[in-house]
Homo-oligomer: 400 residues x 2
């Protein structure tokens, strides 16, 4: 069986284990190591309140080469003051010490409960054990993925294989979280490895673009957490002619990376807390791209739309209401809405459609809502998921 | 027993009955008539897609005197094209014909399902019956309130009595809806009557201010419907020295009106779909009032905060996360949060508090969350309610 984990690209080792943070006994500490050093890029949360891990990784990502990423789940190390910062630094220095590299060349990420200090001794011991378990097997990659999960009901992984200048390139990624939602603080963490040879600047550009069209298009409750982090490491071991300009090789790499991130974003939407189905919202005919983005998010975030989709109710009126609320330019007499291939609202008026057909469309695990604002030529899209009673149960009953 | 309905102020008659729109057989047509003509003011939805009733009432509100308001529930008459407009006009002209006034002096409001045409013949017959039932009794006022309800579990009414220039003034109001939420389109309708003598301009100013501090501070799902309408009618029958300037009499009247609207907004929050409790969010220490408003709404609208409050979980981390996401100016090192009287987060760090005490606070039917952004001296507030599995059931299972 092929390796579809973060150890699939050449040049990476991984490990995951239970160090003692989670009461469940499940994996809560993960490590990715690139022994030769990797070019790295990252995207962090835009929340004004950020975890200690994010504060430290934002500094360390400036290092020309990154040798390891250390991650814990079960504790977000957010809103933890100076002690939190010290602990995040210690996670880097412990890892660096074990692999004999500079602490600044180690990135750190945390996810879980906020406002509590990390059990740093357990983590120190765990890091030492994890280093001794490092391996390039798919089991090691899976262990890592298990170690980053919180309320995720299944591991989320994806891999893309392509050829650049005659060399086989692999890009592999794993992600945790359900959009911005997870217990007690909601965190999304994404880790991507590749053996492509590419400059740090282009790796960063490619990651930002891919995230912009995937994770940033996914809205579960419209919020970004204190811990959101997406990291890509490029080992260069594939031996391709290095990607140093925005040439066709760069575009091929970026297309594969974007496709991988899109795959992971869809997996997240389908595994969002309590979600039973996902949907894509496409907004066309907008005066500006910003308007299209705003309108698509207004629809995907509107609780009444999410509830209607959960109930399999072809309630297009709620979609129109959400669009009207979005504070964007629209032409009420041209406004048109399609659910799947069925036009339910055309030029400002309801159409006669077969409700059974629309019910069957929105009852699928994925469907597309298309809205034309009749106000221009710009378009944008986003992904959303339904809102279920289970979501409320998870988030009301989960103990702090 | 005192009359606490819209017929409490002198100069108003009301009626409510079942004309055949709602399958339940409950009241679905209501009428308020001011035989001598009333000064009137109104606030309408800011949704770009507005119902036919809103389109027509926006024109008719310009008339110097309003003699009647006709309202139906069970059908929003929204997204109904030219037929919808004709039907809204017909509701006004039918009413006007019965009371022998000009159709332009009649206001109309609708609430309920969208995208379906009104059963206009039933409504015409109903208007004729309603006119014959008009009365100044509290029963008639209650019948009216019943006629505007949709998913409301109880009638929402309030009355304020005051004295201006030695004359007794009464202000009475009724409201329907659960914030912006109701089946299939979500509508808030508010009708206020008063016997105060006041100019149209000042009545309008006073209503806008009162709504701004009550209905506009209430967020259930952050959206405004296609039908939201608040109307105030002033008969002048109290015989007070007319309020013609922003004098102490105006301020006294406005304070009472604001208090009445605040009362109705709280009643709405507590009767929001699936809600079991409400909360007030006060944001202080903001750089601007707009920042304070944005931050308070970000907290009140955040599903994870609403779920935590539903579960009685003192999960302050979600409040901090919502504030951080609000795209406003804040000082992370000064950020402070109180739940009721208990400080749970001070100057960017968690405090040691008694979780049992905070659990008992957030388990009450009303509590206050106070956040200090540490970025300035401005403040603002809003009202929110919890998010329950029942909300999802109501909005997922309600059939179009």
């Amino acid at each position: 069986m092929s390796n579809d984990t973060v150890t699939a690209p050449n040049g990476f080792l991984a490990a995951g284990l239970h160090c003692g943070i989670k009461q469940s006994g499940k994996n809560d500490l993960g490590l990715i190591v690139c022994p030769a050093g990797a070019k790295a890029a990252a995207v962090f949360t835009t929340n004004r309140i950020v975890s200690a891990a994010v504060q430290i990784s934002k500094k360390h990502i400036r290092s020309p080469k990154i040798f390891a990423v250390v991650v814990n789940s079960g504790n977000a190390n957010a809103c933890t003051g100076q002690t939190g910062i010290k602990n995040a630094i210690k996670m880097c220095s412990d890892t660096a010490g074990q692999i004999e590299e500079n602490p600044h060349s180690v990135l750190v990420a945390s996810t879980g409960i906020i406002g509590e200090q990390l059990p740093i001794r357990k983590i120190t011991t765990g890091i030492s054990k994890a280093v001794s378990k490092l391996s390039a097997t798919s089991e090691a990659g899976s262990d890592f993925t298990q170690a980053i999960m919180t309320t995720d009901t299944r591991p989320k992984q994806a891999v893309r294989r392509l050829e650049i200048s005659g060399r086989k390139i692999t890009i592999a990624g794993t992600v945790k979280g359900a959009g911005m939602i997870a217990p007690n603080m909601a965190t999304t963490l994404m880790f991507i490895t590749t053996d492509a040879a590419i400059t740090k600047a282009l790796l960063s550009r490619s990651l930002k673009s891919a995230i912009g069209n995937s994770l940033n298009r996914l809205t579960v409750d419209g919020h970004q957490s204190t811990n959101d982090t997406a990291i890509i490491l490029a080992s260069g071991s594939a031996g391709n002619r290095p990607i140093t300009a925005q040439c066709p090789r760069y575009r091929k790499f970026s297309a594969a990376l974007a496709d991988l991130c899109d795959d992971l974003a869809r997996q997240m939407a389908l595994d969002a807390e309590g979600a039973t189905r996902m949907f894509k919202v496409v907004v066309r005919g907008a005066a500006t791209e910003a308007d299209a983005a705003k309108a698509s998010r207004a629809i995907a975030d509107y609780p009444l739309v999410k509830c209607a989709i959960h109930g399999g109710d072809p309630n297009w009126g709620r979609i129109i209401c959400a669009v009207g609320s979005a504070k964007i330019k629209l032409n009420p007499d041209k406004l048109t809405c399609k659910i799947g291939g069925v036009t339910v609202f055309r030029n400002g008026c309801p159409t006669k459609f077969d409700p059974k057909k629309v019910i069957s469309i929105i009852s699928q695990s994925e469907h597309t809502i298309t809205v034309d604002l009749g106000a221009g030529k710009k378009s944008d899209f986003c992904y959303g998921c339904d809102l279920s009673a289970e979501y409320v149960r998870i988030n009301a009953d989960y103990h702090t």
